[in-house]
Amino acid sequence: MSELFPQQVGRYAEQAGSKLTTTHKNENVIEVTQEKLKEFLGHLVNDLSTRHLMTITGLDLGQNIQIIYNFSHERDTVHVKTNVPKTKPVALSIIDIVPGAILYEMEVHDMLGVYFTGNPWMDRKLLLPDEWPSDLPAPLLKTSRADEIRKRLDLGVAKQ
């Protein structure tokens, strides 16, 4: 079963124009484009019953922001990667496929500024304070520095 599973995932990955690489033991990585993402995840969740989404990880790669969907299936971990450009950080929400993704998408939105179209709670904050200035860059980007954020937030408090 556990040897069969990466092969099955690999077959669906080829349909989506990608390739499965096993980086470490039981760590399967697939990189798909935004257009093919939902189709691939539909196969993964419904046909291969990989229904447990552990979390969504956001990474700052310089030009792009990488979103990794970390799925777990028995002993195997499936990391589905997709990139969005930093100039237009908009991704498709997957809550119609995995309803449990709603808070993870909010977290990536808060921390890296990626907007997920289709998520009804995108206008709310999950982790950042409500008074977070809208012109301040997202905190987990490599360009934003902790001391600058602290300075800005303290100023906001002083004004009040």
């Binding site: 980086t23 470490h24 990880t57 700052d60 970390n70 002993r75 995995v98 993870y104 999950l126």
Partner: protein, 432 residues
Amino acid sequence: MSAQPEKPPRREESAGLMEYSTESLVPFGPIHPALKEPEYFKLVLEGERIVEVIPRVGYVHRGLEKASESRPWIQNMYMFERTCGICSFVHSVCYAQAVEGLTMFQVPARARFLRTIILEMERIHSHLLWVGLMGHWAGFDTLFMWVWNDREVVLDLVEAISGNRVHKSMNTLCGVRKDMPENMEDRIIERMKYLTDRARYYRDVIDTEETMLARTEDIGRVTADTAEKLCAVGPMARYVGMRRDVRLNDPYAAYDEVPFDIVTRNEGDVHALLRLRLDELVVSANIVSYAVKHLPDGPIRIKIPPTIPAGEHSSHCEAPRGEIFYFAKSAGGRTPERVKSRQPTLANIPTALEMLKGQTLADVPIVLTAIDPCFGCMDRMSFFDIDSNKKWTWSGEQLRQYGINKYFPERAKRQLHGQKFSSAGLGFKEKF
């Protein structure tokens, strides 16, 4: 123009629906800094029933992921251990496993067994803490006193092995820092036997004691399908019959060398959660006894260089509250490129919201304690009635009393009678 009616009809816009329905908004929380994980739930009530819950977390978000990018690999491990004040060791184990996967070093067998022993002791201590709190919020304080007394037993053992009660700081990359003291084996096995007997006794208590049955049975229901769709983890997944436990599905540390089976239940209410956690205590005690008896000889750690090879690796572990997940990305330097951590409470909040829907306000403390995220937020809540613009505030103690009075009116009367002589009850607090 016709003359204006003397009295305008009440709530014209909702006349077609329920004329006398009042929808109230109850902000629940957010914070009591003395307790773990403050959260804020905005409850929309239709009469006494909850129809909608809006969560708001992040009050204690300290930016650990950002901070980890400027600290050495080994230092980060002790920082991530401070994520939680109850299940601290499992965080350092999970982070260490994510980093160890990037290196080519194997953890020695003795270190893996020692990690398993501490992890299971931590689970016992966390579950006992939770059972005590459930007793407190249900109005059965005797259980709270008993259980927290037994919790000291396991905390003493943890202190004897690691030197600390809460933040063990015992882990290191590719090993552990402290070895098991000599002549501990018999003492641990004897204490585990005592805890097993106590757990079985508590199980009989919650099955027969009317206070616990009235407060927990048939409350906080979700279906297995909902829990699976919302990616529930840990006891929240197992109490509806899902066999989701990382210790079994993807064994780490020494769990593939220790015989054990996980516990699942099918009822899917708060009482099932109590039974489940008490049964898990017995399983954990057996794992500790077995691991202590079969502790292999050999080194407890390997020294590794401070730079970690470039790559990406992830790890997940079963904390007392459910699965935790760590993802580490290295660029080959002394500090990480990115570390991502996800805690079980965040994964369980969508399921918790489903549990709360349809419950009464009196059940909110017990349901929110049952999911084990936060009891701090219950310490102060304010009520706002949209219709009458009336505002009032209840403390956590008053809300607890409200729940008890609703279920046991005759006990409330008794308490009211005794109020003149004791400090318990609502009246005393309001007066002073």
